[in-house]
Symmetry: C2
């Protein structure tokens, strides 16, 4: 029975990993795959894969496994990754310009269509065909191109201010790379990529295991 809603965030993230690995198996010519086979590649228990899928519906054949092609297509559709999704990068520093051409986004159909900055030296330049625009013109751009997602790569000091501008301009979702907690209105989606706290947690674990 197809359920909906209240799907755990971790289930969603794992599902994207499933799609990636299913694509790779498809490349190798695999047509049918079992929960045991796919999870052995991912270092997770088979039950978790089946449980995760059960949030979306039923996709397998008992005694047989899952049709790789159909599973890929269905999962992509359910997550909204079956069509190109446009996004912009805000803050065209080292990190921002790296994200403009990050291949992992293309894999899931996310396309960066522009970058923004307030530095006149950067405005007008382009990276791999993606232009850097003046942040002053961001609202026009967002409306014209119907962009809903922004990757926020500005310095910590200005992250909240720029986030406010983005929302004012019509952005609905922010992937935040600045190590600050953004305060945002209801209805805005936020995910934080906090590289420093990831590395910090590694340092702590190392301390524990070495001692």
């Amino acid at each position: 029975m197809a359920k909906k809603h209240n799907i755990p965030v971790e289930t969603i993230k794992r599902t994207i990993t499933y799609i990636r690995y299913l694509e790779r198996e498809k490349q190798k010519g695999v047509k049918i795959i079992s929960s045991r086979d796919i999870t052995s590649l991912l270092n997770i228990p088979p039950a978790q894969f089946r449980k995760d899928l059960s949030f979306f519906g039923e996709f397998g054949k008992r005694g047989v496994g899952y049709n790789v092609d159909i599973l890929i297509e269905t999962l992509k559709q359910l997550l909204g990754l079956d069509r190109k999704v446009k996004a912009i990068v805000v803050g065209a520093g080292r990190l921002g310009t790296a994200l403009v051409q990050y291949p992992g986004f293309l894999e899931i159909n996310v396309e960066i269509i522009g970058a923004f900055d307030n530095d006149s030296k950067k405005i007008g330049q382009s990276i791999k065909g993606i232009d850097i625009y003046d942040i002053k013109n961001i609202k026009k751009f967002i409306i014209k191109n119907n962009v809903k997602i922004a990757l926020l790569c500005v310095p910590s000091d200005s992250a909240q201010i720029v986030a406010n501008i983005l929302i004012e301009a019509g952005i609905k979702s922010i992937l935040n790379f600045a190590p600050v907690v953004l305060i945002l209105p209801e209805g805005i989606n936020i995910a934080n990529v906090d590289m420093a706290s990831e590395i910090g947690s590694i340092i702590y674990r190392m301390k524990e295991t070495v001692q």
Copy 2:
């Protein structure tokens, strides 16, 4: 009573956020802070802050709050962030070179001391004073400098192979930016920064809330 071990990963990550915000309050001249005041900046319940701290020990004064200076120093020490920690970047592409100068690492005392690549065009160059070395010489470098942490920014195809080389060379912890699941021996610490699955989860949530 000071406990240890089995501290949840999420508690560790939040603790790093606490340190960052305590530093900022310290800059503003705040000497004493309550769980309510700090968590109001972080959008989390005060009880979570106190619960998190309780994994490490007792640091506050009832009826008063926490001494900002002492709390910062103690938490840093407990996490192993009170002294400089050396790390290397492996894969000197766009993302790798961005990480070399990422200011968020310095904030928590992590210092990138070198970058490695197998591309002869990159080897010998330097970014902000950090040299790019031939990956062939990585083992010597790691031993000589006693490096334990690597930031892995190579293409997905080679991530597992390069990870094996790193471990062989003596690396104990890997922060992996490639969208693959690495299979590693017991005792090696791993954290994954999966930007694509973060953005994918945002797309799904947007789909749900808009409909």
